[in-house]
Symmetry: C2
Subunit: 269 residues, 2 copies
Amino acid sequence: MMRIAVCAPSTPITPADAERALALAAAEFPDLEIVVHEQCYAVEGHFAGSDAVRREALLECANDPSFDAVWFARGGYGACRIAEDVIAQLSPCARDKTWLGYSDAGYLLGGLYRERIGRPVHAPMLADIRRENGEAALRRTLGWLAGAREGLEPNLAREAHPVVAFNLMTLAMLAGTRLMPGLAGHVVMVEEVSEYLYAVDRLFFHLTAHLGGIAGLRLGRVSDVPENDRSFGHDAEAIARHWCARHSIAFLGHADIGHDAANRLVPFG
Amino acid sequence: MMRIAVCAPSTPITPADAERALALAAAEFPDLEIVVHEQCYAVEGHFAGSDAVRREALLECANDPSFDAVWFARGGYGACRIAEDVIAQLSPCARDKTWLGYSDAGYLLGGLYRERIGRPVHAPMLADIRRENGEAALRRTLGWLAGAREGLEPNLAREAHPVVAFNLMTLAMLAGTRLMPGLAGHVVMVEEVSEYLYAVDRLFFHLTAHLGGIAGLRLGRVSDVPENDRSFGHDAEAIARHWCARHSIAFLGHADIGHDAANRLVPFG
């Protein structure tokens, strides 16, 4: 029996979200026991509880040796406000854990990977149950935890380099902070959602200046781009190619990740 | 007679904008001659012409020894795509010039300040003529060029440290790039517009990690914050104070700058 703790370092889920996810897990993954921390339902302003509440809940999950994995419930925004303090207070048992999430959870995945604490995995989160076909997203994460491998991002199978996957904004904001992992020699996959293309271009301007020495970049889906008052004039792939070329970074093509129900898993490393 | 070249490194203005600005200058500032480059009206996708067109126009203005100043016409987005190439191709006469603008023009001001080329100034731009009371904004920039000092940001008068002013997003994106000036010992003023407070918080998380050694931070106006589906729970000043405290940066109070007609001038240094 694998035991999985769920907490919400960013924004809250509802009990109804948790019920649906737990029902799916109980029906299809009998070898997984999922424990949803009550903090997941806390609400304070934008966040799933204050910084202190979110930090303590994550530490309870992370420092409990009976859990094998910590599954982040939902993104949004907020993990960067607690990530450093959490990482500084982890017990030795945290090193045995798998950490799963994406989007805003990337601040934690990045910081944990920097410190080589356990196994960070870009993976669908509990709140993805809200999406159309969200059950498929959850099955991918839970299936991987139960031993299946078909949820993995397909390029991993033939990739010799270590790989990480991040939301573009999240990785751009990590750059230069005390949470930024060393990515030399890595293939870096990035995806984005709900950003204007000029903002995507701006993020690539910034991020590529921080990715010296990476093995290459793969572009996930750039989805739900808002309509601007005028066309940007370049699509997301052209933007990625432009900035990779400026910094002599190999553009390796696409990655099957994104803010959608088809988002695949990328275990870091 | 001071000669001022106007070009648009980001997005275009219209001939009507230029006519209004030139009429104001002719009526009130007879000692200023303003020459608006035709490139200011070029349109290609998001930009005032292609990267090459914007770069060449800026170089024509910057490398013409008959101009005393280069006034950026408008922000938006795009200066970061040409700034490095422009700075690499400047003639010696560029070192005698004053560079004026704000917002997206900050990529150029930052890169020029890094290289100590001429005098970068955070200042209202020609396109501010479109704002309500926009004439007052233009009078502040043109008045300063003509020798007046009442348009200066008021805290400068009693500030012993060198000062810079930037849009928060622009400075956050500059951090770690080849355009980022060294800001140790400086008072850094930042302002923001049209960003959610969670995005302001995210930018402060990122930027303050890059501002080690500054003399302190002053917060300009954070305006036109879009309404979110829920309140963030902290206002802009609380956000700035939080991240300054985390990085032992002195929070010095407010600055009279912003994306509005009241925006004051900050000569860098």
